[in-house]
Amino acid sequence: MVISAGLVTVVGLLSDEGSAPALLMTFTIQMIAVVAAIAVLIGVLNLAAVHLGRFAHAEHGWPYSVVMLFVMVAVIVLSILDRAEIWSGELEGEQISLRAFEAVQVSLESALAALLAFFLVFAAYRLMRRRVTVWSLVFSVTLIVVLVGWIPFEELDVLADVRDWLVRVPVSAGMRGLLIGVGLGTVMVGIRVLLGQDRSYKS
C-alpha cells in the first residue's frame, strides 16, 4: 500500500495537470487528508478522555486537567459562535477564537523567544569552554561580529559591512549546502520507502 501510494504520488506530481495520473494523485492526497482529519479528531477525543479520567479519579495534577477541559470547551464554543457570525458592534466580523488563541499562545511564545538570544550567547561561551577548535573559534567570532554589527554606532559601520558580507556569502553558502544535503538524504529515504525497505511502518 505504501509503495503504491508513493508511486502514484511521484508519477502524479511529474505528470501534466488534468492527466489521469495527476487526478489519481489528487484523489490519493485527498484520502490522506481525510484520514489525517479523522486521526486529529480521535486525538482530540482521546485527550478529552484522558483528562476526564484524571479528573474523575482525582489523580495527581487533576486541577490542570480541569483547566485543560474548560479551555477546550471554551475554544470549541467560541469557534462555533465565530462560524455562526453572531458577534455585533465592534466585534462584528472578528474571529474571537483566533484572538483568544493569539492572546495566550503568541504572548507565551514571544516571552520565551525573548530569552533565546541569551541562551545562544551562553551556548557559544560553553562551546568555547568545552572544545576549542578552529570551527568553534570561527563560530564564536562570527557570533560576536554579527551581534556587535547590529549596534547602530557610526564607528561600527565596518563591522556592519562585515556582518552583511558574512550573511550574504558564507552563511548563505553554508545554508544552501545544508539544505542540499538534507534534500539528498530525503531522496535516499524516499527511495528506500518506494522500494518497501523502510521499516518505520512495519511490525
Binding site: 489525517a36 507565551l108 520565551l112 523567544a113 530569552l115 541562551f119
Partner: protein
C-alpha cells in the same frame, strides 16, 4: 531539458546508485567513516539501561503528511534502534513530538521495539507525549523540557525538525546535566544544535543513521549512494559555475 525530465533522471540515478550500493554492500560491506554522534548514541542507551534511567527522544515538529515527513521517518528509524536497546530497561524512554500525526508513529516505534524484545506488556502508549505546535513550537519546547525534567531523564536526543526552540530544549537538557545529541533539518535549528549539543548531527547525517546503528545492506548501500549523489551535485555545481564564468 524540462524540470520534469530532470526530476525523472535524478530519481532514476538515485534508484540505480542505491541498487548498486546495495549489491556492493552485500558483496563486501564497506567501512563507514565514523560519525561521533552515532558512536555515542548506543553507549548512551547502554548507560541509561545500566543506571536505570530514562532517555528523552524528540521528533520536534517533524510531521507525517507535511514536508518534514521524511525527517520524521528517518528520526523514527533511529529512535527504533535506540528503543530496541532501551526496551530491556524498567524505565521506558520518553518520546515527544509537536505534530499530532507523528504521535501514532512515536507510539508505534516504541511498541515495535518492545515487541522485538518480547516485552510488550511493559509498553505504555503514554511514553509518547504531544505538546502544542506553533510557528516556533516554543510551547512544545517548554512542555517537553518540563516533562523530561519531571521524569528525571538521563540524556536527550533531538532529531528531526527544530527551529529556534531547540535552544530552549538544549538549555534545559544541559542545566539538568543530560547528555545532548541534536540535529535539525532547518538551518537555524542546525546552528543551535552545533553550538549546544555534545554531539551534533549535520544535514544529511540523520538519514544515514540506520546504517550506523546495526544497519542492513540496503541502508549501508544508501550511504554509498548518498556519497555518489553528493559528488554528482558538487561536480554539477562546479560545471555550472565554470560555464557561467566562461
Amino acid at each position: 531539458m524540462s524540470d520534469i525530465e530532470l526530476t525523472w533522471i535524478g530519481l532514476g540515478v538515485a534508484l540505480a546508485v542505491t541498487l548498486i550500493g546495495l549489491v556492493l554492500a552485500r558483496l563486501r560491506p564497506p567501512r563507514l567513516r565514523p560519525i561521533p554522534a552515532y558512536v555515542v548514541l548506543p553507549e548512551t542507551a547502554a548507560d541509561a539501561v545500566e543506571s536505570d534511567n530514562r532517555m528523552h527522544l524528540s521528533f520536534g515538529s517533524s510531521a507525517i503528511g507535511e514536508t518534514s515527513t521524511v525527517s520524521a521517518l528517518a528520526s523514527a528509524e533511529v529512535f527504533y534502534r535506540l528503543a530496541e536497546r532501551l526496551a530491556v530497561s524498567p524505565q521506558p524512554p520518553l518520546i515527544t513530538t509537536s505534530a499530532g500525526l507523528t504521535l501514532p508513529l512515536a507510539q508505534d516505534t516504541l511498541r515495535r521495539a518492545y515487541t522485538y524484545r518480547d516485552r510488550l506488556p511493559a509498553w505504555r502508549s503514554t511514553s509518547a507525549a504531544w505538546f502544542p505546535q506553533g510557528a516556533r513550537s516554543l510551547a512544545f519546547a517548554a512542555g517537553a523540557s518540563s516533562l523530561a525534567a519531571d521524569r528525571d531523564v538521563f540524556s536527550t536526543v533531538l532529531l528531526g525538525r527544530f527551529g529556534i526552540e531547540l535552544a530552549l530544549m538544549g538549555e534545559s537538557a544541559l542545566r539538568h546535566d543530560q547528555a545532548l545529541v541534536a540535529h535539525s533539518d532547518l538551518p537555524e535549528g542546525q546552528a543551535i544544535a552545533y553550538a549546544q549539543a555534545d554531539h551534533a548531527l549535520i544535514g544529511e547525517e540523520l538519514y544515514v543513521g540506520p546504517a550506523y546503528l546495526n544497519g542492513r545492506a540496503i541502508e549501508v548501500g544508501g550511504v554509498l549512494a548518498l556519497d555518489v549523489l553528493r559528488w554528482l551535485v558538487i561536480v554539477g555545481i562546479l560545471a555550472a559555475a565554470i560555464d557561467a564564468a566562461l
